[in-house]
C-alpha cells in the first residue's frame, strides 16, 4: 500500500508540471465555455479514476492475499507504531490536501470565465414561470415564448428572473445553467461561435409540468439576426 502513495504523488506532480490545458478561446479572446468545461471535466476524471483504480487494485490484492486458509487462522499480529500512526495519517492527509488545492485552483480558473461576462455580450432577458419561458429583448420590445434567437459569434448574456417559483435555465450542449429565483436577477452567459439549434430546459423542480418546460435556442448568422429583428420591429414587437 505504500506504493499507492508514491504512484499517486507522481501522477499528481506530473499533473502540476504539465502545461495547463489549452486555454480555449474563440477569435476575439472570448473563452469557449464548452471546451473549458470539457477540459476541466476530463482532468478531474483522470484524477479521480487514478485514485479509484489504485484503491480498488490494492483492495482486490489484499482481499485475495489475506484470505483465510485454515479455520483457525487469525490476523491481528500487525500493529502500527506511533510513528506509523503519524505517517499513515499525515501523509495521506497531505496528499489529499494537495490534490484538493490543485482541483480548487483549476476550478477557480474556469469559474472566473463562467462568472465574468465578456464585454460585447448581447443581452437577453428570460423570465421563467410555471411552466414556460418568456424571452425578452430589452432594446427591442420583442417577447418570445420558449424560443430564443441570438446572433452568432457574439457571446450572449441571459438575465434570469422568475415570476412564481424557483426554476433553473439549463442548456446542456452549451454547458450552462443557473437558477431563476423570484425577487432576484441572476445571470449566465454562453458562447455562440457555432450556429444551430440548442435545447434549453428547466432543472429546478417546479411542479406538474416541470419536465415539459423547455424551449429552443437558435443561434443564427448576424445578418439573419438583424433581418429577424427588423421583421419584428415592423410587426410591432409581440408575436
Amino acid at each position: 500500500m505504500r506504493t499507492f502513495f508514491k504512484t499517486h504523488a507522481i501522477i499528481f506532480l506530473l499533473a502540476l508540471i504539465l502545461p495547463v490545458s489549452s486555454h480555449a478561446s474563440t477569435d476575439k479572446g472570448v473563452p469557449d465555455l464548452v471546451v473549458e468545461w470539457d477540459t476541466l471535466w476530463h482532468h478531474m476524471m483522470i484524477d479521480i479514476t487514478v485514485i479509484g483504480m489504485i484503491f480498488a487494485i490494492v483492495t482486490l490484492y489484499l482481499m485475495f492475499k489475506y484470505r483465510r486458509r485454515t479455520p483457525d487462522e487469525e490476523g491481528g499480529r500487525f500493529r502500527l507504531s506511533t510513528l506509523g500512526v503519524m505517517g499513515w495519517t499525515l501523509i495521506p492527509a497531505f496528499i489529499f490536501l494537495a490534490d484538493d488545492i490543485f482541483l480548487a485552483a483549476k476550478n477557480f480558473e474556469v469559474w472566473q470565465k463562467y462568472r465574468n461576462v465578456p464585454e460585447n455580450a448581447y443581452v437577453v432577458e428570460v423570465e421563467a414561470y410555471m411552466w414556460g419561458w418568456d424571452v425578452k429583448y430589452p432594446e427591442e420590445e420583442i417577447v418570445l415564448t420558449n424560443e430564443m434567437v441570438v446572433p452568432q459569434d457574439r457571446p450572449v448574456m441571459v438575465r434570469l428572473k422568475s415570476r412564481d417559483v424557483v426554476h433553473s435555465f439549463f442548456a446542456p450542449e452549451l454547458r450552462v445553467k443557473w437558477d431563476a429565483v423570484p425577487g432576484m436577477v441572476t445571470y449566465l452567459w454562453f458562447n455562440t461561435h457555432k450556429g444551430g439549434e440548442y435545447l434549453f430546459t428547466c432543472t429546478e423542480y417546479c411542479g406538474l409540468l416541470h419536465s415539459g418546460m423547455y424551449g429552443k435556442i437558435r443561434i443564427v448568422p448576424p445578418q439573419e439576426f438583424t433581418r429577424w429583428i427588423e421583421d419584428h420591429r415592423e410587426k410591432g414587437g409581440k408575436i
Binding site: R68, V85, P92, L103, N107, V165, H210
Partner: protein, 552 residues
C-alpha cells in the same frame, strides 16, 4: 398438549402489548428494524413504479405527472427519514450500543420507548401520503415558494419531519448519555468499538443540526397556512434563505448516515478478517472527528447556482474538497484492516467489501459536485441521483443489509441461509451498478432529474430502458435477501453465542439472543482487552459456546 400449556407458551412467545410498551433496548431496536425496513420496502416500490414510468417516452403507467411527483416525494422522504436514519440511529444504535459497551440497557429506557413511538407515528404520517386527497408533491427538499403555493399537503411533510426529528433528538440524548456513563468497567475511550465512536459522533451532529431543519420546515408551513412571508419575494422574503437552512442540516445529515454505516463496516471487516483496526487513532481523530469538524461548514455546495454570492461559493468549494481528507482516511482504515488479516467471505463480509467498491465510486464522484464550475453543468441532472444513490442507496444500504446479516444470529438466535445470502448479494451488486452507473452517464449527457417525461431527449430512451431493467435486478436481489432471512427465522439452524469468532463483547459475553438485562454479570475487562484483540492466542469463541442459551 393441553390448551392451558399452549396459551401459556403463546404468551411467553409473543404479546403485542409487551412489544408496544417495551423498554428493552433490543426489542426497541427490533421495532425500529421493522419500521425502517417497511419504509424501505414501500419507498422501493415507488422506485420501481418510477423506473417503469421512465422506461419509455410519454405516459407509460400513469398519465398524470402529479402521480409521479408524489411517488418521487415519498421515495426520497421515506428513504432518508423513514429508512436510513432510523435504521442506523434507531435499529443499529439500539441493538449494538448497550451490548458493545457492556451495559444492561440504555440510560433512559422510557425515553427510548418515546423515540420509537415518535418514529412509528412519523411512518404512519408519511404513509398518509397515499390517503389524503392532495398528497405532498414538493420533493423531500420542500423548496419554497413552490411548497408554499402548491395544492399539495405541505403540512404532512412538515409534521413527518418534526416527528422523526424529535424522535432522533431523544435518541441522541439517550445514546450520548449511555455511551458516556454506562461503559463496562475497564472500557476506556481508547478501547471503544469503531461503531460506538461513529454512532456517538453521528448523534452529536444530529443534535446540533436537526433543530435547524425543524425550523426550516416549520417556516414553510407558517408561510403556507398562517400567512407569514419568510420566503415570499414580493414581501421581502427569499427562497434562498430556506435553501441555506435546509442544506445547513441536510448536508451534515449525510454524515449522520455515513458515519454509522462506516462503523458497521469496520465491525464486519475486523471480525471477518480477524484483525485489529488499522490505524485506529488516526481514523478516530483524523477521519471521524475530521468529518464532524467539516460536516457543518460545506452546505453551500448545494447552492452554487442558486443565487448566493460568488465568494461564498469559492470558500465552500475548498472546504468541500477538504472532506476528501477525513473520508480518505476512513477508507484507508477499512482497506488497511485487511492487511495481514485472515479474511473469510461470509455474506456480511461480502457486503463489506461491496461497500468499499461502491463507496469508492460514490465518494469520488462527489468531487465534481464540489467543484463549482463542473457543478454548473451536472447539478440537477441524473448525475446527482447517480452519485448519491451510490453513496446512500448503495453504500449505506450495503452497510445496513450487511449489518443485518452480521447481527442476525445474535438477534434471532438462528442462522440465515448462507446460499441465498450470497446469491442476493450478487444480484444486488450487479443490478445496482447497472442502474446507477447508467444514471450517472445520462446525467453528464444532460438528462435533468425529477422529470416525469423526457420528450426533449428522445435519444435517451434506450439507456432509460436499461436503467429500468437494472432496477428490476435490484428488486429480484431484494426478494432473495428477504427469503434468506425468512428461511433463517423459520428453519435456520440454531446460532451459537459467537458464530463469527469475534472478540467484541456482544459476541463473547452474552448468548444469542441475549436475555433481558443482556449480561449475567457486569463484564469486567482486563487491561489487555480490546474488541479487536485478535492474534494474542486467546480463542474467545469457545467461551461463547459455554454461555447458557437464552430462551426461557
Amino acid at each position: 398438549m393441553s390448551t392451558a400449556v399452549e396459551s401459556k407458551t403463546r404468551e411467553g412467545g409473543f404479546s403485542l402489548k409487551e412489544w408496544i410498551f417495551t423498554t428493552d433496548h433490543k426489542r426497541i431496536g427490533i421495532l425500529y428494524l421493522i419500521g425502517s425496513y417497511a419504509a424501505f420496502a414501500v419507498a422501493g416500490i415507488m422506485a420501481m413504479l418510477m423506473r417503469t414510468e421512465l422506461s419509455s417516452i410519454g405516459p407509460t403507467i400513469t398519465e398524470n405527472p402529479n402521480t409521479y411527483n408524489v411517488w418521487l416525494y415519498f421515495h426520497g422522504a421515506a428513504m432518508i427519514l423513514g429508512y436510513q436514519i432510523p435504521a442506523l440511529t434507531g435499529f443499529f444504535a439500539n441493538y449494538y450500543v448497550p451490548l458493545m459497551i457492556g451495559a444492561k440497557d440504555v440510560a433512559f429506557p422510557r425515553l427510548n420507548a418515546l423515540s420509537v413511538w415518535l418514529f412509528w407515528m412519523g411512518i404512519v404520517l408519511a404513509l398518509l401520503t397515499f390517503v389524503v386527497p392532495d398528497p405532498p408533491d414538493i420533493m423531500w427538499t420542500g423548496y419554497p415558494p413552490y411548497s408554499v403555493i402548491t395544492q399539495g399537503n405541505t403540512a404532512l411533510y412538515t409534521f413527518t419531519v418534526l416527528l422523526i426529528g424529535f424522535s432522533s433528538i431523544a435518541g441522541g440524548v439517550n445514546f450520548l448519555t449511555t455511551i458516556i456513563y454506562m461503559r463496562a468497567p475497564g472500557m476506556t475511550w481508547g478501547k471503544l468499538n469503531m461503531f460506538i465512536w461513529c454512532i456517538l459522533t453521528a448523534f452529536i451532529i444530529q443534535i446540533i443540526f436537526v433543530p435547524v431543519l425543524g425550523t426550516a420546515v416549520t417556516m414553510i408551513s407558517f408561510d403556507k397556512y398562517l400567512g407569514t412571508t419568510f420566503f415570499n419575494a414580493s414581501m421581502g422574503g427569499t427562497a434562498v434563505l430556506y435553501e441555506n437552512l435546509f442544506w445547513f442540516y441536510s448536508h451534515p445529515a449525510v454524515y449522520v448516515i455515513l458515519l454509522p454505516a462506516m462503523g458497521i463496516i469496520y465491525e464486519i471487516v475486523a471480525t471477518f478478517a480477524r484483525n485489529n483496526i488499522f490505524n485506529y487513532r488516526g481514523i478516530l481523530y483524523g477521519g471521524i472527528w475530521g468529518v464532524v469538524a467539516l460536516g457543518g461548514i460545506v452546505w453551500a455546495h448545494h447552492l452554487y447556482v442558486a443565487g448566493i454570492p460568488d465568494w461564498m461559493s469559492l470558500i465552500h468549494v475548498f472546504l468541500t474538497l477538504l472532506i476528501s481528507v477525513p473520508v480518505g482516511l476512513l477508507m484507508i482504515g477499512i482497506v488497511g484492516t485487511l492487511y495481514k488479516g485472515a479474511i473469510e467471505y461470509r455474506t456480511p463480509m461480502l457486503y463489506a467489501v461491496g461497500f468499499v467498491f461502491l463507496f469508492l465510486i460514490g465518494g469520488l464522484t462527489g468531487i465534481p459536485n464540489a467543484m463549482s464550475s463542473i457543478y454548473i453543468h451536472i447539478t440537477e441532472t441524473y448525475w446527482i441521483p447517480g452519485h448519491f444513490h451510490y453513496v446512500m442507496a448503495l453504500s449505506v444500504t450495503f452497510a445496513i443489509i450487511g449489518g443485518t446479516y452480521y447481527i442476525f444470529p445474535k438477534m434471532t438466535g438462528r442462522m440465515y441461509h448462507e446460499g441465498l445470502g450470497k446469491l442476493g448479494f450478487i444480484l444486488l451488486f450487479v443490478g445496482a451498478n447497472i442502474t446507477f452507473f447508467l444514471t450517472m452517464v445520462l446525467g453528464v449527457r444532460g438528462m435533468p432529474r425529477r422529470y416525469y417525461d423526457y420528450p426533449q431527449f428522445p435519444e435517451f430512451e434506450g439507456i432509460q430502458q436499461l436503467i429500468t431493467y437494472g432496477s428490476y435486478v435490484i428488486l429480484a436481489g431484494s426478494v432473495v435477501i428477504l427469503a434468506s432471512w425468512v428461511y433463517g427465522l423459520v428453519r435456520g439452524e440454531k446460532a451459537v453465542a459467537n458464530p463469527w469468532g469475534s472478540r467484541s463483547l456482544e459476541w463473547t459475553h452474552t448468548p444469542s439472543p441475549p436475555p433481558p438485562g443482556n449480561f449475567k454479570e457486569v463484564p469486567q475487562l482486563s487491561e489487555d482487552w480490546s474488541p479487536y484483540g485478535y492474534g494474542n492466542g486467546k480463542r474467545e469463541e469457545e467461551k461463547g459456546e459455554d454461555l447458557e442459551p437464552a430462551r426461557p
